[in-house]
């Protein structure tokens, strides 16, 4: 079969037919969207990528969904109830839901999806979300094999239109999590017949979203067409959506300018200013849920000194760094978990309100107090990735440390896997770090800093764990946020890292595309958009 396909390709070559269909790229009925690198999987129980998540949101519909502004809206479930202890979520499905092939969609399809995700044969990263993040009852035991009966899972379908999810601890952000990590239903018959290959097989894949998969070409594109059996099909305006793999951001920009792509995945850093001046209506930039911070290695003798860590953090002029050096429209940041969810009023580092000149003066004092100066300069390395913005940022920080404090910094860019490995290997003084939150709320960030979660930070702080544990027991969101703010204060006061910026989502959107909005969640489901 594989040989046959290669043979056919060769035949086409000899006949001079070339490859690819002759379909015009920018037909008026097709929305062309860039998604950066290729999706790692279109299998809804396996996919872990944010960008592939956009395709999944068009093709499958979870119990709940997001609108363009990041608000949770009803999806397959028309309404839901939460028990007063915050431990039980009951979702009521819409009446008459259908799969794309006309089969009836039932509550058990959602339960089967969760069961398949945590099944070890599926080998899915996503199982982690049920056991560790949402803390669904029974999930952990099923994953590590201490339980085998699927009935012990806290996701059940008491009748065809009801899905019940039971949690071990209150999770006020449950709906956000379910939106960010979509629980797509599983169509049993097609999966049973064709196996996991069905999800990339347009002839046999069955889905329940606003669109169905028409064509999949690896490294090239996924073409979607409207699903006539979708419950809200009458309001889906764009007939076709094509997601293009756009590996190279400069090429993507040119394809956008040539009209081959309507919505880009990103904007080249050095073009943002020019594009904002020439085509302001097309430039769409807003905060994401990614924070960039420089971690200090607490096992290194010099960096055990909090004065020194504080001096290094204060010597960085974040405004200049982001606006003049990185030029990626990042938002200068003085906190860790704040700045994403407007309802969370968390702390900033103590000096955030000072002017940069005052901060630098204080930094110099602290640096001298720690015993360093022109005769005895501090020597550091920064481990960063080879990504353009990461390199620029590291260079900029090195320049500032040199200028303000006289620190001698060696920037070491590495390819991504080596960089990930280097964190745990520990040969770094300063690690160019970043964290993508699952949702805008603070807890997804703060939970990551618990000493037990990430062994590389070597930060021991029982007070922090206690504060986080206290917050985890609270089901009411505003009260929980207050408790979390107390925990973040403990975190920031130790200066174990220097927060630098909140990374934005950057897109170019043709003015012919209507209904686009920016949100931290980053979803703009094609069903809510329209084309001129």
């Amino acid at each position: 079969m594989k040989g046959l396909r290669t043979g056919l390709g060769l035949l086409a070559l000899v006949l001079g037919l070339g490859v690819g269909s002759a379909r015009p790229v920018l037909a008026d009925d097709t929305l062309d969207r860039g998604i950066g690198s290729e999706w790692s999987s279109l299998d809804p129980q396996v996919n872990f990528d944010a960008a592939a998540g956009w395709i999944q949101m068009d093709v499958y519909e979870g119990l709940i969904s997001f609108d363009g502004t990041g608000k949770v809206i009803p999806g397959a479930a028309e309404k839901w109830d939460v028990s007063s202890d915050g431990l039980t979520y009951t979702f009521h499905l819409r009446d008459g839901l259908k799969w794309s092939n006309g089969d009836a969609l039932v509550a058990q399809d959602f339960v089967n999806s969760v069961l398949r995700t945590i099944n070890k044969d599926t080998a899915s990263d996503k199982g982690y979300y049920f056991s560790s993040v949402m803390q669904v009852k029974g999930a952990k035991a099923l994953i590590d094999g201490t339980a085998t009966d699927p009935a012990t899972l806290g996701v059940t379908a008491p009748d065809a239109r009801t899905v019940v999810i039971q949690l071990l601890a209150p999770q006020p952000e449950m709906l956000q999590l379910m939106g960010a990590f979509q629980i797509a239903p599983l169509h049993g018959p097609s999966f049973k017949q064709y196996g996991a290959g069905v999800f990339i097989d347009p002839a046999h894949v069955v889905s329940n979203g606003a669109y169905i998969i028409k064509e999949v070409v690896p490294q090239s594109h996924v073409l979607l067409a409207r699903n006539p059996n979708y419950w809200d099909a009458a309001h889906v305006k764009i007939p076709f959506v094509k997601y293009h793999v756009t590996e190279d951001v400069a090429t993507e920009l040119k394809r956008f300018q040539a009209g081959e792509i309507d919505v880009t995945y990103d904007i080249p850093l050095n073009q943002i200013a020019a594009l904002k001046a020439s085509d302001p209506a097309e430039v769409q930039i807003g905060p994401s849920t990614e924070v960039i911070y420089y971690s200090f290695n607490l096992t290194h003798e010099a960096l055990k000194n909090i004065d020194l860590r504080r001096a290094l953090s204060l010597a960085i002029d974040r405004d200049t760094l982001e606006s003049k050096i990185v030029k990626g429209e990042g938002i200068p940041d003085y906190s860790f978990a704040g700045g994403f969810d407007a309802n969370y009023h968390g702390p900033q580092i103590a000096e955030a309100t000072m002017s940069q000149a005052d901060r630098e003066a204080l930094a110099k004092q602290l640096y001298a107090k720690a015993g360093y100066g022109p005769d005895k300069p501090l020597k550091l390395n920064i481990i960063a990735t080879v990504a353009e913005d990461a390199k620029r940022r590291a260079e900029g920080v090195a320049l500032m440390w040199k200028k303000v404090l006289g620190v001698e910094t060696d920037v070491q860019p590495m390819e991504r896997k080596a960089w990930l490995d280097a964190f745990y290997a520990g040969g770094w003084d300063v690690f160019s770090d970043d964290l993508v939150g699952d949702y805008p709320g603070p807890e997804t960030f703060l939970a990551y800093m618990r000493p037990s979660t990430e062994p590389g930070y070597n930060w021991v702080k029982p007070e922090y764990n206690a504060a986080m544990d206290a917050a985890a027991k609270i089901a009411d969101l505003p009260t929980r946020y207050e408790a979390l703010a107390k925990a973040e204060k403990i975190l920031l006061d130790d200066y174990i890292f220097a927060p630098l910026e909140i990374v934005p989502n950057r897109h170019l959107v043709k003015t012919t595309v209507h209904g686009w909005s920016n949100s931290a969640a980053g979803y703009n489901n094609s069903q809510f958009l329209s084309l001129d």
């Binding site: 070890k120 199982g127 090239s220 081959e260």
Partner: protein
């Protein structure tokens, strides 16, 4: 002749076996793994994933499993592109790389040899300087400069061809083919010119020329044959390289070929994909070297039965 081919194929199989073994074990020395992520997923789940791809087994067992698969024409699953096997990824991408590479090398060989000969026969003439300039530009202006430049001029300004992608049939192929052929034109024309000048000075050609008998025929038959020897030696590995795709061309022009896998598979530590791509390239290289030696035997009778 047949015996020569048979022996070379047998040697090629041994070479390929050595390449596979070396790559399989050395590749694992690189830091990081296919499933390292920004944040650690829970150990039980990581164990499930590793077990599903047999990465928890001892190295020799993994190697045995891989070789056993190869003998059944199974190149294993891709670890980065979870929906596909390595065989499927190569089958999907190869036609694109092959088409672009094939036309690029054909154009490069024709234009390159033509320019080189013209330059050698009319040394220091206008043709020679033109050929020299094309050569220098082809080499000095790298693909990552000329590619974007060509996109701006021919796609954005003139609108003759698309910027990238693969959905406009032959029109999508024009820019990648032309840009990929440029550096090869440069190399081939320089090599042809150099060796042609050399051959023209050799005694037998001088004699023939001095006698003035059928000078043209002498040139074409004898001189050209000799002059093409180093060019053919260059074309062997170059063709294997070009038809398996160029990372730069495929990235710049968004071509869904297999050239990108050469870099990305290694960066993603997608072990089976690295192996599959290495096998494909190594195999083609060996085949083209055999072809090269055959062609050279045809060009230079002294080499026959030697090799």
């Amino acid at each position: 002749m047949l015996r020569f081919i048979g022996r070379r194929l047998w040697e090629g199989a041994l070479t390929l076996a050595a390449l596979v073994t070396l790559t399989f074990f050395v590749m694992r020395l690189a830091p990081g793994g296919p499933f390292s992520r920004d944040r650690k997923i829970s150990p039980e789940i990581l164990d499930h994933i590793k077990a599903a791809f047999h990465l928890d087994e001892p190295m020799w067992a993994q190697f045995g499993r891989y070789v056993w698969g190869l003998l059944h024409l199974d190149f294993g699953p891709s670890l980065r592109f979870r929906d596909y096997s390595v065989g499927e990824l190569i089958a999907a991408g190869l036609p694109y790389s092959l088409t672009i590479g094939f036309w690029a090398i054909v154009i490069a060989a024709l234009v390159g040899i033509g320019l080189g000969l013209a330059g050698a026969l009319r040394r220091n003439s206008g043709v020679d300087y033109l050929a020299g300039t094309v050569g220098v530009v082809g080499i000095a202006v790298p693909i990552f400069v000329i590619g974007p430049l060509a996109q701006v001029v021919f796609a954005l300004k003139l609108g003759w061809v698309p910027v990238g992608g693969s959905d406009q049939g032959w029109r999508s192929l024009v820019l990648p083919v032309v840009v990929l052929s440029l550096p090869n034109i440069a190399y081939i024309s320089r090599l042809t010119r150099g060796s042609m000048i050399e051959v023209l000075r050799e005694n037998y050609v001088r004699t023939a020329r001095a006698k003035g008998i059928g000078a043209r025929r002498t040139l074409m038959v004898h001189a050209l044959k000799g002059a093409l020897l180093p060019v053919v030696a260059y074309l062997g590995p170059a063709t294997a390289g070009v038809i398996t795709g160029s990372i730069l061309i495929e990235t710049i022009f968004a071509v869904p070929g297999i050239g990108r896998h050469f870099v990305d598979a290694a960066l993603n530590r997608d072990y089976p994909l690295v192996m599959g791509i290495t096998l494909l390239y190594g195999g083609l290289l060996i085949v083209f070297n055999i072809l090269t030696d055959l062609v050279r035997g045809g060009l230079d009778p002294r080499l026959r039965g030697h090799g």
